[in-house]
């Protein structure tokens, strides 16, 4: 999974969106079926996250040993139960909150940090650019898993440390995307014009370049969120994810793995929940990309 967590970053980078047409801001509203479907799906997921306690009759961590391993559509347990007799629908619904939070938090800081680095190195160039790009090279050539295991071992388990571990390399795609875009825009007329009238570098970067290069990075955010949740699942596979009995999709998939031949639903259903969010976020990303392209 680490290969995904790293690889797809370059998705957006190698489709330099600025090539497709002049950068447009994201503000204009046009109904696009892809985007709309994605937004509706995500909206539904958010509704589930907010209303989870109302939607589920059970406490997601409450154990009932007499009701263990009930298959889906059992009376009282629409999606069945796990090895502790916990209601799987309750666990999936409650973990929606946590997973959206993981997706959001482990992506937002790298997004902000990475984008700023990318713009600065792309615009200023020189030694700063060389040094930062070499750091990127080193991190890229470094096996992701060693990095994550090391960070989690040093800092200890827990969600905050999970965000840190993912964030240490998470900023790289955003930096690469915005750097590429900045390189393409810094010789455009309006940037040159801004420079001739004596605007400071900082002002040019924030006022003129940022709005024009941020969109592709923002589009990548949606893929990044799916990958962050998946990275969490890999960490759970290694036992370093969210701590039990916290309901979390990745952890549920990893915990259910040992009962795969006994109770397929324990891994499959949280996997499907992840798929729904993945589809929603991808559709939104695609929709935004198409609008810019169109």
């Amino acid at each position: 999974m680490s290969e995904k967590a790293f690889g797809s970053p370059h998705l957006a980078e190698v489709v330099p969106l600025s090539k497709l047409g002049r950068a447009t801001r994201l503000g204009k509203v046009r109904v696009d079926p892809t985007l709309l479907t994605g937004l509706v799906l995500l909206g539904l997921v958010i509704v589930v996250a907010i209303t989870a306690p109302l939607l589920t009759p059970y406490d997601p961590i409450e154990q009932r040993f007499t009701e263990a391993f009930l298959p889906p559509f059992s009376p009282g347990h629409i999606l069945g139960t796990d090895n502790f007799g916990r209601d799987i629908w309750s666990r999936i619904a409650f973990s929606t909150r946590l997973d959206l939070q993981i997706g959001l938090l482990s992506v937002s800081f790298p997004f902000v940090f990475g984008s700023l680095i990318g713009i600065a190195t792309g615009y200023l160039g020189g030694t700063l650019d060389t040094i930062l790009m070499r750091i990127v090279d080193v991190l890229m050539a470094f096996p992701f898993l060693i990095l994550v295991i090391a960070i989690m071992s040093i800092l200890g388990p827990g969600l905050t440390n999970l965000y840190i571990a993912v964030g240490v390399v998470g900023w790289i795609p955003y930096a690469r995307i915005t750097r590429g875009e900045t390189l393409a825009t810094r010789h455009l007329e309006y940037v040159l014009a801004a420079r001739t009238i004596g605007c400071s570098s900082l002002r040019i970067m924030l006022r003129h370049i940022l709005p024009n290069v941020i969109a592709p990075a923002l589009i990548y955010v949606f893929t990044g969120m799916v990958l962050a949740i998946l990275t969490g699942a890999t960490l759970s596979f290694l036992g370093l994810g969210p701590q039990p009995p916290t309901p979390e999709w990745g952890a549920m998939i990893a915990e259910g793995r040992q009962y795969l031949l006994l109770a397929w639903w324990m891994t499959t259903l949280p996997g499907l929940a992840l798929l729904v969010v993945g589809v929603a976020l991808s559709l939104i990303g695609d929709g935004l990309a198409e609008r810019r392209g169109g």
């Binding site: 690889g7 890229m140 470094f142 998946l230 699942a233 596979f237 793995r257 798929l275």
Partner: protein, 313 residues
Amino acid sequence: MGRAAYIRKRLLLMVFVLFGVTIVIFGMVRILPGDPAFLILGDRATDQKAAELREQLGLNRPVLEQYWMFVSGFARGDMGQSLLYRQPVGDLVLRRVPVSLALAAYAMGLAALITLTFGILAAINKGRWPDQLIRIGFLFALTTPNFWFGILLILLLGLTLRWFPVAGFGDTAVQHIWYLFLPALTLALQLSAVLIRNLRGQIILTLRSDYVRTAHAKGLSESLVLLRHVLRNALLSTLTIFGLQFGFLVGGAIVVETVFALPGTGQLLIQSITARDYPVVQAITVISAVLVIVVNLMVDLSYSFLDPRVTYE
């Protein structure tokens, strides 16, 4: 800049990057909580025994000296002694590298086929059901953790249909190819999920561009336009991702190697981290870093073959 000069420059950069990798990994394994001496000797060991072992393993020497021994040894091709297995790291690691390399190459080959097939299929059917089906299907592959996906493939193709062995590596070259198929497919499907999205988008973009319209106007046949112009153009960026994925295939195949019981570097890496076997962890890290860098250099160089207009800065 000519190609030769470009390669020289990249090789020089590679030395710097590798230098950085050695510093990071050397520092990192030593910050990790856990004393190799106690981990090797077991929980019953006395402090004195552990101290003796540390002395014997050279863990008592100054950090800078240890780092110098690591780097200078590596430069000479000597990767040191494994703390846990008490044998040369080279013996342990080098016979596993081909397994991981073969898995990565196999997965990339399968991924190339799958990506080309379904990427083109999706692009030329943009918006219609084959396109939607492919996109949703590969989203499934993208959002599925591969430890789960691997088991599903074993259940279906290994146990039920009996087309492939369940797990292991086999003894002969032919068996290796056969045994590696399912793990390679597990990785390939996930890699393709990333690549197909890119290729599809690129083809759609290229099809819209002026020169494709010109080609059509000149009356060239559909497949010829697709193959000669569109694909070649679209592949440029897909290839970049492809190269970048390589490192993640080698390093990230750890989980797949565990599920399919392949004797690759991934399994050894996990064991060595747990045992704090510094020299082995360092060796595997540096080797996979070299591979990542070399493959990416090759990818960059291949651009000029795909598109003669590409120059190197």
